[in-house]
């Protein structure tokens, strides 16, 4: 049987984002998630207040 080719192992992610306050990509992703949570909270509040 032909064995499937495996994906090459991914090199460690370069942590330098070039951003002044967020040096690692994990930090950038966390800020994006927090921004999303903030927006959902605002939308829930808007729905509850005016429905």
């Amino acid at each position: 049987m032909k064995r499937p080719r495996a994906v090459k192992s991914i090199a460690p992610e370069a942590d330098d984002t070039g951003l002044p306050w967020l040096r690692t990509w994990k930090g950038v992703y966390l800020v994006v998630i927090l921004h999303f949570v903030l927006w959902v909270t605002l939308l829930v509040a808007l729905t509850d207040f005016f429905s």
Partner: protein, 570 residues
């Protein structure tokens, strides 16, 4: 439209198109034509990704969706930030390291040629049909603005987009999208400000939201666990994640955009830009539709927003019958209007019981008005079932033409065309490049030179443009354009995502197992779509899960069969 509108429309559109073609003239290298010059900065990538997704449908149909259904549609984007983080962290580094032209090349590298072609076929089918819907949207604008036959506007606007895309290639698409997006944002912000200014003088910010909320338009988040409800927090978060992961991670029209980045960093930041901006942007566009709804509670709306429906009604039923429906509708609307004015007075006077009673009466009158609309629509469909399409897509353009000043009309029509050109060009460019790289150079002519491939890619781009025009001629049958695009994507994207999930994360599965599992899963999704009534947002999850699970099971079976066979040989 006045002369001023035409000057703004033609000046902005021609200016951007000529600039893009001039800056990218004479490019003959396949790499540059298909992927751009790989020098694009994160902000341009971010705008390009945004402009590719935000077609004319987004700006034409989404306010209509807000007008009819309120803010609930925003939940479809709840999965987008999560999906873009996964793509930035996992998909993008691998695509860049392999230096692929198309996402499906990766499937060929990881599995085999047949799986690569299957991925490409699923993309071509889905995007080829979806491209028809995105051509249809600007055609509605043209037909409404100029009163031309819809089929003529579909063909003419489709041909303009084909010429523009064929001449420019990927570089021109990325280069011009930021200017097109500037026109779009200028148009939408102007429209938003003018709608707010046109609301009745005594109506405060909280009055407006309270009014919209009373008519169930401020329903932004719904935590219902009923899977038959189309837009809920859960369907948006879970189903939406899979839908967006599939769209941004496996649809060549998007992959091509972020692969044009100068580095991994630029691509990632471009995606994160979208992860942050998309939900607020869609919220504002839906809110625009809700504000137009509130505006039309105080101003007389037409019986049909699509003027051609009224014309058709008058021609095929009778003028008197149409007039009778219009009289009833207008009379009910006047009643509702008076009740709302009473509600406003009682609310400002602090009389809560009077306010509640007046609002209940206004709500009841509004519902009667909607019933009259439904009866008129039924009478229309009795004459010709093809005219039953709702006119939600015409709400915003009707508002623009009837309520906004000259100059602004030209700017907004230019915004629709900018949106159509930017997304359509990216789609056709991706369809052409996928057909060239994954089929032509893979199967027909393996030793083709770059110059030859660029020429072939242009022909394929034109071919897909013509397919899109043909499909657009039937797009009037869909309920609402923005929903139709997402439904179409939901049917195909799940399995396509399943192929990539297996490729990235399940190393022991090979090409044969994933190929047959994908075919079975796609058939399963088709069957379920036509038999179940669950929200379409769940199908990407179902398709992906089916493909992954079947792949693992089939690979286990194949491994067992392989081992037995090897044992017999020894």
């Amino acid at each position: 439209m006045s002369a001023l509108d035409f000057v703004i429309l033609i000046g902005s559109m021609l200016g951007i198109a000529i600039y893009g073609i001039w800056r990218t003239r004479g490019r003959r290298e396949l790499n540059t034509y298909l992927k751009g010059d790989s020098k694009t900065a994160w902000f341009a990538i971010g705008l390009s990704v945004m402009a590719t997704q935000a077609s004319a449908i987004t700006f034409l149909s989404t306010p209509g969706q807000g007008y009819l259904g309120g803010l609930g549609f925003v939940q479809i984007y709840f999965g987008l930030p999560i999906a873009l983080i996964i793509i930035a962290a996992v998909f993008l580094p691998i695509f860049r390291r392999l230096n692929v032209y198309t996402a499906y090349e990766f499937l060929g590298w990881r599995f085999d040629t047949k799986t690569r072609l299957l991925g490409a076929v699923l993309f071509l089918l889905q995007r080829g049909l979806g491209a028809g819907l995105t051509i249809y949207a600007p055609s509605i604008v043209l037909a409404t603005v100029f009163g031309w036959p819809l089929n003529l506007t579909i063909i003419s606007s489709g041909l303009v987009v084909i010429i523009y895309t064929v001449m420019g290639g990927s570089s021109a698409v990325t280069l011009t999208q930021k200017y097109q997006l500037a026109v779009i944002f200028a148009g939408m912000v102007t429209a938003f400000c003018l709608v707010v200014m046109k609301l009745p003088a005594g109506l405060t910010f909280t009055d407006t939201f309270a009014l919209a909320g009373g008519f169930q338009k401020i329903n932004a988040v719904n935590f219902s666990t009923n899977i038959h409800e189309r837009y809920t927090f859960w369907s948006g978060l879970v189903g939406g994640t899979f839908l967006m992961l599939a769209y941004f991670g496996t649809d060549q029209s998007q992959v091509q955009r972020y692969l044009s980045g100068a580095s991994l960093r630029e691509g990632r930041l471009g995606l994160m830009f979208n992860a942050v901006c998309k939900i607020p942007m869609q919220f504002c566009i839906l809110l625009l539709g809700v504000l137009i709804f509130v505006f039309y509670l105080f101003e007389q709306p037409p019986l049909f927003f699509n003027a051609t429906l009224s014309q058709y009604f008058a021609e095929h039923r009778s003028d008197q019958q149409l007039h009778a429906y219009e009289m009833d509708f207008n009379s009910i609307h006047t009643q509702a209007n008076r009740q709302l004015e009473d509600w406003l007075k009682a609310r400002h006077g602090g009389d809560r019981s009077a306010a509640t009673a007046a609002f209940a009466a206004a709500l009841s009158a509004h519902k009667q008005g909607e019933k009259i609309r439904e009866e008129a629509a039924k009478a229309l469909s009795a004459v010709n079932s093809r005219t039953t399409a709702t006119d939600a897509d015409y709400v915003f353009i009707t508002f623009i033409l009837q309520q906004l000043p000259h100059g602004v009309i030209g700017l907004l029509v230019a915004a629709f065309f900018a949106a159509a050109l930017s997304s359509k060009a990216a789609e056709l460019n991706a369809l052409g490049s996928c057909t060239t790289v994954d089929f032509y150079r893979q199967i027909i002519k393996r030793d083709a030179t770059d110059t030859h491939c660029v020429a072939v890619s242009k022909w394929f781009t034109a071919f897909w443009g013509l397919v899109a025009i043909s499909f657009a001629l039937y797009a009037h049958l869909v309920e609402n354009l923005i929903q139709a695009v997402n439904i179409l994507g939901s049917i195909f994207y799940g399995v396509m995502l399943g192929l990539f999930v297996v490729a990235f994360f399940i190393r022991r599965v090979g090409g044969t197992a994933v190929f047959w599992s994908a075919l079975v899963s796609q058939t399963l999704v088709f069957v379920l779509y036509f038999t179940l009534t669950i929200s379409y947002l769940w199908y990407p999850l179902i398709g992906c899960a089916a493909c992954v699970i079947l792949s693992i099971v089939l690979q286990t079976f194949l491994n067992g069969a392989g081992e037995k066979s090897e044992m017999r040989e020894t």
